[in-house]
């Protein structure tokens, strides 16, 4: 995915990205543009989690909590719930900031933990957030409980609302198209930051901690601050995409922030290839689109083959999803597109091996 600055491929790629929603709309219909929007949201989430899991090696199973914090911040401050209608450019950064605070809140006490212990604590943290969102409707109603908050203000900059349709030069752009461009802009920003981080001192410190924490701290890395920073940055990205999600959907409820969602995002990171931005994007695209494909295809295919719908497409979809997770991991345990660093390590090992073999071969000649 690393395209050179001068290469014409870059412009072609940009053109494809810009034309994509209209192409999708023409070929597959409106619903699929919406799915593309969700894919972008999930990619943002996965990239955020990639900082925590992929770079720093901290296994986080409660990541969706930050998404929830961002979404609920937007929902509470920009809806009739409290009668507040704060503008998007205040609420979105605020949500990111609060999510960042929660990231530090989670990170600070768990710094000593690692591996599975950390996984289970973060899982517990995610569940606690969800239970509170679910129950904070009595005696004082804050989150509206399981019903969630609806009629959330659309994403809006000045007089321009992403929730409306506009007519330009005979082209009609609906809300799903407009959101696509907004989300694309944010996703590219997150990708840009991720890549820059990867090559920075901080990124290298994260990788050092992932590979060997003791050695890293012996080399003078402040593991505490660096880990906290990973949690905080990951959470911030989660908070931003949460806010965008709330504005896009116009509705949030605790159901969208279950453990299954955390697992889904983690799967995107791991399936795609931990620590590799391109791999994570690939994982996000695949895991959003494939199940949708399947959901749409499962009913008609059964109808055609068996004459009726025998198995509920929804559970069949999840069944296939589960099987895909197992198969991909058995087939490529390092993910579909592992990070270049890993590949380099492998390549280095191989070339050393080859040299040794060649020497033996040469000697015997």
């Amino acid at each position: 995915m690393r395209l050179h600055r001068s290469s014409p491929g870059r412009f072609v790629f940009a053109a494809i990205l810009l034309a994509l929603p209209f192409v999708i709309d023409a070929l597959l219909g409106h619903g699929w543009v919406r799915i593309a929007d969700f894919a972008l949201l999930y990619i943002m989430l996965a990239l955020g989690l990639n900082i925590v899991v992929g770079y720093a090696g901290l296994l986080d199973l409660g990541y969706i909590a930050f998404f929830a914090v961002g979404a609920y911040t937007y929902a509470l401050l920009g809806s009739p719930q409290f009668g507040l209608h704060w503008p998007m450019w205040v609420v979105l950064p605020l949500g990111a900031l609060i999510a960042c605070g929660f990231g530090v809140l989670l990170g600070a006490p768990t710094l000593k933990l690692r591996g599975d212990y950390l996984a289970i604590v973060t899982l517990g943290f995610g569940e606690i957030i969800r239970i509170f969102l679910n129950n904070l409707n009595a005696p004082v109603n804050i989150t509206n409980g399981p019903q969630g908050i609806s009629a959330i203000d659309p994403l809006q900059i000045g007089g321009f609302s992403f929730g409306n349709s506009y007519q330009w030069l005979g082209m009609r752009a609906d809300d799903v198209h407009l959101h696509y461009y907004l989300f694309l802009a944010f996703t590219l920003l997150v990708i840009f930051i991720s890549r820059r981080l990867e090559d920075s001192r901080i990124g290298r410190a994260w990788v050092a901690i992932r590979e060997d924490e003791v050695a890293a701290s012996a080399m003078g890395i402040n593991t505490r601050n660096i880990k906290l920073l990973a949690f905080a940055m990951g959470a911030t990205f989660g908070g931003i995409s949460g806010g965008l999600f709330a504005g896009f959907q116009g509705f949030v409820s605790p159901e969208s922030f279950s453990l299954m969602e955390s697992v889904m995002v983690l799967c995107m990171v791991v399936l795609g290839g931990m620590g590799n931005v391109g791999g994570v994007v690939l994982g996000g695209v695949l895991l959003v689109i494939l199940p949708e494909l399947f959901r749409n295809a499962a009913g008609p295919v059964q109808q055609a083959l068996l004459g009726k719908v025998v198995v509920d497409p929804e559970s069949l979809r999840m069944l296939m999803f589960g099987m895909a997770l197992i198969l991909v991991m058995l087939w490529r345990p390092a993910g579909l597109w592992p990070s270049t660093q890993r590949r380099r390590e492998f390549a280095a090992e191989n070339s050393v091996l080859q040299q040794e073999q060649e020497t033996v071969y040469d000697a015997s000649k």
Partner: protein
């Protein structure tokens, strides 16, 4: 006072079930260092099999005691086969893979099992038919029924049997050896794969029993029941010190008690602000507190570098 006693009784019953499921987690973790995320689903499948067999047998007018025993045995047999297959398919090929890979396959297995169960048994809640009248007894102000007494008694029995098995038998010694150091155990002639398979089957059989117990206690079976139960049981295992059998038992019972007391008193403590619907928060709060204060759990040894 009556509430206190009643909540303690409830907590002990629930805690016994947690303990049985937690044993499954802790045994696998002790040997493979792997969170078997699919374990909760094994509990659910056990409950479903027991339900189906019990319904069939009772419809065929088999003697109630026989029906209960047979359905329990059937559930155990199916779960053991399931546990064995899960290990063979999803974990064994990945033993030397990156650490996250088996975690993802475990999640995959759990999703597959849940949706298979949904296809076979449907989305609805099934009521679990118990062929006896479970009479209630007064116990110093608290009310206990026969099913609850049986649950605690059976759990105690099974736990002592397991301790005996691990401490005194050849297989138990092999298990401890593999948990200590797989390579060294293999050099000493222990068939590691056999020991791991046996561990999975043993844990799954316990899960089947636990599934039967939960269903009998609440009278309800549902395809989603394994999820939260598994999570709680894993919490219990971590609380006690994962990898430690006694820890799992202690953690299970403690977690049951904390939850039940917490749910009983939270209303009074917060002046009615928070209600018993926060019950699930306790499990996780306690977990976080314990891990921060004592990262290796109550009875666990310090795992210095196990990431």
């Amino acid at each position: 006072m009556e509430i206190l006693l009643q909540q303690i009784v409830n907590g002990l019953v629930q805690g016994s079930v947690y303990a049985l499921v937690a044993l499954g987690y802790t045994m696998v973790y002790g040997i493979l260092g792997l969170i078997n995320f699919a374990h909760g689903e094994v509990v659910m499948i056990g409950a479903m099999i027991a339900l189906t067999v019990l319904q069939t047998l009772l419809a065929a007018a088999v003697a109630p005691v026989l029906a209960v025993v047979l359905s329990l045995l059937a559930a155990m047999a199916v779960c053991m086969a399931l546990g064995y297959s899960i290990e063979r398919i999803a974990y064994r090929p990945l033993r030397n893979a990156p650490r996250l890979a088996p975690l993802i396959t475990a999640i995959g297995v759990s999703i597959v099992l849940q949706n298979l169960a949904m296809m076979i048994w449907g989305r609805e809640y099934h009521s679990f038919p118990l062929p006896f009248n479970s009479t209630s007894h007064q116990l110093g102000g608290a009310i206990v029924n026969d099913v609850q007494i049986a649950i605690v008694a059976v759990a105690l029995l099974i736990m002592s049997a397991l301790m005996w098995l691990v401490q005194r038998t050849r297989m138990g010694r092999a298990m401890r050896a593999v948990a200590e150091n797989p390579a060294a155990a293999a050099l000493m002639g222990v068939d590691i794969n056999r020991v791991i398979s046996a561990t999975f089957m043993l844990g799954s059989a316990l899960a089947a029993i636990a599934g039967f117990m939960v269903s009998a206690n609440y009278g309800i079976v549902h395809y989603y029941m394994g999820f939260m139960l598994g999570l709680k049981a894993f919490t219990a295992a971590v609380l006690g010190g994962i990898g430690n059998l006694r820890g799992a038992m202690l953690g299970g019972v403690l977690l049951g008690l904390i939850e039940s007391l917490g749910a009983g008193y939270i209303g009074d403590l917060t002046g009615g602000f928070l209600g018993s619907n926060y019950q699930d928060v306790f499990a996780f709060l306690v977990l976080i507190a314990v891990l921060i204060l004592r990262p290796s759990g109550l009875l666990g040894e310090k795992l210095a570098e196990r990431a």
